[in-house]
Symmetry: C2
Subunit: 236 residues, 2 copies
Amino acid sequence: MHLGLPDSDLSEMRSLHLFEDMDDTHFGSLMQGTYVQNFPPQIELIAEGDRSDFLYVVLSGSVELFSCWNRRESSMATILPVSTFILAATIRDAPYLMSARTLEKSRIALIPSQDVRAVFDLDAQFARAIVTELALCYRSVVKNTKDLKLRTSLERLANYLLRQQRYSGMANEFELRLEKRRLASVLGMTPENLSRAFKNLKSYGVRVDGNRISITDQADLEKFAKPDPLIDSYSI
Amino acid sequence: MHLGLPDSDLSEMRSLHLFEDMDDTHFGSLMQGTYVQNFPPQIELIAEGDRSDFLYVVLSGSVELFSCWNRRESSMATILPVSTFILAATIRDAPYLMSARTLEKSRIALIPSQDVRAVFDLDAQFARAIVTELALCYRSVVKNTKDLKLRTSLERLANYLLRQQRYSGMANEFELRLEKRRLASVLGMTPENLSRAFKNLKSYGVRVDGNRISITDQADLEKFAKPDPLIDSYSI
DNA sequence: GCTGGGGCTTGATTTGGATCAAATTTCGAT
DNA sequence: ATCGAAATTTGATCCAAATCAAGCCCCAGC
């Protein structure tokens, strides 16, 4: 027996690009089978290789996507509210390529994958939104590949900082929203090297105090980092 | 004045997953604005940053997708017939993230992007096919990222060879379908290092003679490469 | 307040891979 | 067939980053 979701959850989900333009009835039937759950930190939500039974939505907290091979692990992305993850696996009804764990206490919605696929065929707006979202995801991963293959780790860090700065409204000071060891893994380096990389960026006007970053010489950092919209912009 | 495409081109395109299930009329109107052209080798078809005016289909020959930053260049993928490329940019009406050049004499179809987007809204089958295709592309790039971040260059080469072997019907001998320096770039290494890597794989039963690879000790190579369907399979 | 453990930093060392330079092979064009 | 340019290979060297090993700091829990 389904009890129905709180209005606050519903409206948050509804505001996602993925759902905002779709028909009310269709949204309703998607939400019919959806349930929302609170998870403590460090809970593994899905493991790579699992059947993709649900599309996930992070309503609050944060989730790390990571992958393993041969006893090595790499952080692939961090999902912040409000967004979905593992859309592609859901669409293709294929096993997850990445695992997911909560980083902090998180509120998460689970939408049955078969419902997503069913409503896709009924609602053209929803189909359009899914395809737009997937294309965006694809392009992010391509940008990430370019970052990895074309830049050194120091350049990746410098550009990461510039992106974070942009995200926080071009302030000269901002907080890292990621533990450093996770950031290291995201950037494809070791924690030790990240630490040294921060030191190296001092000469380009980057101060670090714990999670607090201040950029004291914007021009100098940008001259070194050479940010490129075709790698570093979110929206394009 | 549009002259219409040769039947052979039409039927080849029609056989693509992307187009095979769509309505005849809709396929027709897509093809209305499409033109097909033969290109010599080494022609730059598109440059990253360009407006995505067309969706491309390689009918014969081959095309390399590559990216540049700060005077460095990296090969991102090779497109073999019959497949499309830069679908995501077309869908989002966003600038290309990658450049493309012909590797050999190639026959290529150009479908106006606005027609693709228009027909998407009319034809649910086509919409379904696009979303499936995009999800597949997304998953390939994720697998590629895992390959890059979790494996050493030697491991990447070993697994690349096993994938090629699978592609060529599990024969113990097969041809590299890529110039070595391009392969090096695809695998994220220098040509010099690729050469040394091939030498290192001798001890795991890999013989190299020009473009001809023979795998003399399958078990040994697999033991070293540790292939994983969540990185190395095409279809999943 | 202590205290213990995890995360972060620092230093020393090793290793993988890049770069530079040159020899060799391959292959297309004449 | 021969020439020349490009690709590949090989060797020497350099550099970036991983690893190993302590030590420090922060703060969560007693």
